[in-house]
């Protein structure tokens, strides 16, 4: 018995190291954002900002259109999430409900897009957006993100979990495809849709690279883009302010995750596995 507990302790050690590495930078980010300049450089390692100050946040609020950034980020993330879920659900439903020629080929070609490196796509897409006059607009950021190979894959995977007889029973009752989707499929996979939706939202909220190209005017920036302004000149001295913006950027995803973590992790553990 004693050796068993001892063994268990041994295995906790590497995990605690990992927890420290994963957690400390986040704690450090928040605490630095609450320190004034002196504290930042003199009590660098002290996790407690004593006394805490909100000056960094006030400076940001006073000098930058922070609420515009938040609104821009939210607007894009919300639209992207809704449309991504929509296109993924519709396509996935076609794959489980219908039999058609080249079904596997069509599915694989959708899944394959998931592996195309983004830089391969940015130049032509940038030219397209510029031709459509969508540069510097949230639509330019959103349009290419309205579909996602991973989304189609995850949704199909989830829908495959629905027992076939349930769909057949509805079909025998003369339910049309839209009725089957609305009355049988959607209610059954609601939890997965919400989880995937949250994930899409977080990903889009955090998106940096594509918005960087499309959004050039400062007032159209999203939060991750705004971050860049604080580090430009060779690690400038505005660390407190940079950390304040970083904290604000991280808050919504962190909060979403903390509230729904069990839900998200479970859905992921179920759907992350290849089938």
């Amino acid at each position: 018995m004693k050796t068993k507990t001892h063994q268990d302790l041994c295995w906790h050690l590497p995990l605690l190291v990992a927890v420290f590495i994963q957690l400390w930078p986040i704690v450090f980010m928040v605490s630095t954002s609450l320190k004034d300049m002196d504290q930042i450089f003199q009590a660098t390692l002290n996790p407690l900002p004593l006394p805490p100050t909100l000056n960094n946040y006030l400076t940001v609020l006073g000098n930058f259109p922070l609420f515009t950034y938040i609104y821009n980020t939210f607007f894009i993330a919300a639209f992207v999430t809704v449309f991504k879920v929509l296109t993924s659900v519709l396509a996935a439903f076609a794959f489980i409900y219908y039999d058609f020629k080249y079904k596997e080929t069509v599915f694989n070609s959708m899944l394959l897009t998931f592996f195309i490196p983004i830089t391969v796509l940015i130049m032509p897409n940038y030219l397209l957006m510029s031709r459509l006059d969508l540069l510097n607009t949230p639509w330019g950021v959103m349009l290419p993100q309205f579909v996602d190979g991973m989304g189609v894959f995850l949704m199909r995977q989830t829908m495959r979990g629905i027992p076939k007889p349930l769909l057949e029973a509805a079909v025998l009752d003369n339910a049309g495809p839209l009725q089957v989707l609305r009355k049988v499929v959607l209610p059954l996979i609601k939890p997965s849709i919400i989880a995937v939706g949250i994930l899409f939202f977080i990903n889009s909220w955090n998106e940096y690279f594509w918005p960087l190209l499309v959004l050039q005017d400062k007032e159209t920036y999203t939060l991750p883009l705004a971050l860049q302004m604080f580090i430009s000149a060779e690690g400038g001295s505005e660390w407190g302010i940079a950390m304040a913006v970083a904290t604000l950027t991280s808050l919504p995803p962190l909060a979403l995750y903390l509230v729904c973590q069990k839900f998200i992790l479970n859905t992921f553990m179920q759907s992350g596995v290849k089938g």
């Binding site: 390692l45 396509a91 219908y98 070609s109 580090i231 995750y257 553990m269």
Partner: protein, 292 residues
């Protein structure tokens, strides 16, 4: 199950249309652009045939870039594939208590933006006043310039990616770990098998399909994640020391404004990706144990 073809088409249309416009058409357009010399702004494009490709393949730069890419991949495989694999085994089968806690906390960084992670580590790695330099000073060591030295810069950037992606890959691996029936491990324990034997003889074969998936996304996505810290912190420097096959396409396109070369690089990069996926399918998928 259902025969009618047209309704299937309507359901697929929105996704298919977007995939064609924003994924497949750009691929073709890259191919087209790669035969021209253009600066993205001038109204005229000059047809140059294969010379973009010849220039690229004849330059020293491309080999440095490929070398960097390989180093990036190797380090990321350690942080985002090997470590999550081992940790998920500990978490799934060796620990009795605290699993939920570890699972939740280790996933936290995965929800943050890479832009945030980049800023955070820029400060942590700051050679003059950053926290890491203070810790190193305790041991009388001088902090290296993490983002300014060849090779070291790749390692530093990989730690950022590792920090952000570790938790996600851990969760995916953990799902596969938990799916290994407990009876199987208990049966092995009755035979007095060591944990290492269990890991090697039971866990690795039983989780191989997910492991290959994680391996793939580590390579394929890792190189794209790298874009954010590279662009924010080093712009590919020092002296292209942190550029790679994915970033170089952006560099030529949006920094050097050599659209044709950028497109040619895009095609080469795409070709490398496809070669990787093909080799993976050919050599790895065969050895995999699939449940059904």
């Amino acid at each position: 199950m259902n025969k009618a073809k047209w309704p299937a088409f309507w359901f697929l249309l929105p996704a298919a249309l977007l995939f064609v416009i924003f994924f497949y058409w750009p691929l073709l357009q890259n191919l087209y652009l790669s035969f021209f010399s253009w600066n993205m702004i001038s109204p005229t494009m000059k047809y140059v045939g294969l010379s973009n490709y010849i220039d690229i393949l004849g330059s020293k730069e491309v080999y440095k870039i490929i070398g960097n890419t390989v180093i990036f991949v190797l380090i990321m495989l350690l942080f985002n594939f090997v470590l999550p694999y081992l940790y998920s085994f500990i978490l799934g089968h060796l620990l009795q208590r605290g699993k939920m806690f570890y699972r939740s906390v280790l996933f936290l960084p995965a929800t943050l933006s890479l832009a945030v992670a980049s800023i955070l580590f820029l400060w942590i790695y700051n050679p003059l006043a950053g926290p890491l330099s203070i810790v190193l000073a305790w041991f009388d060591m001088e902090s290296p310039r993490w983002f300014k030295e060849n090779l070291l810069v790749i390692f530093s950037i990989c730690t950022i990616i590792g920090w952000k992606v570790f938790g996600y890959n851990l969760i995916v691996m953990l799902a596969a770990m938990v799916a290994v029936p407990r009876e199987m491990i208990e049966a092995a324990k009755l035979e007095n098998a060591s944990n290492w034997t269990i890991f090697r003889r039971i866990i690795i074969p039983m989780t191989s399909s997910t492991a290959i998936y994680v391996f793939t996304i580590t390579v394929v996505f890792g190189l794209q994640y790298v874009l954010v810290p590279v662009n924010m912190l080093t712009q590919g420097g020092p002296d292209q020391g942190s550029s790679n096959l994915v970033y170089i396409v952006y560099q030529y396109g949006f920094i050097f404004f050599q659209t044709g070369k950028s497109a040619a690089f895009a095609i080469i990069t795409m070709f490398c990706y496809m070669a990787f996926l093909y080799l993976k399918n050919k050599y790895l998928e065969k050895k995999v144990y699939y449940e059904n």
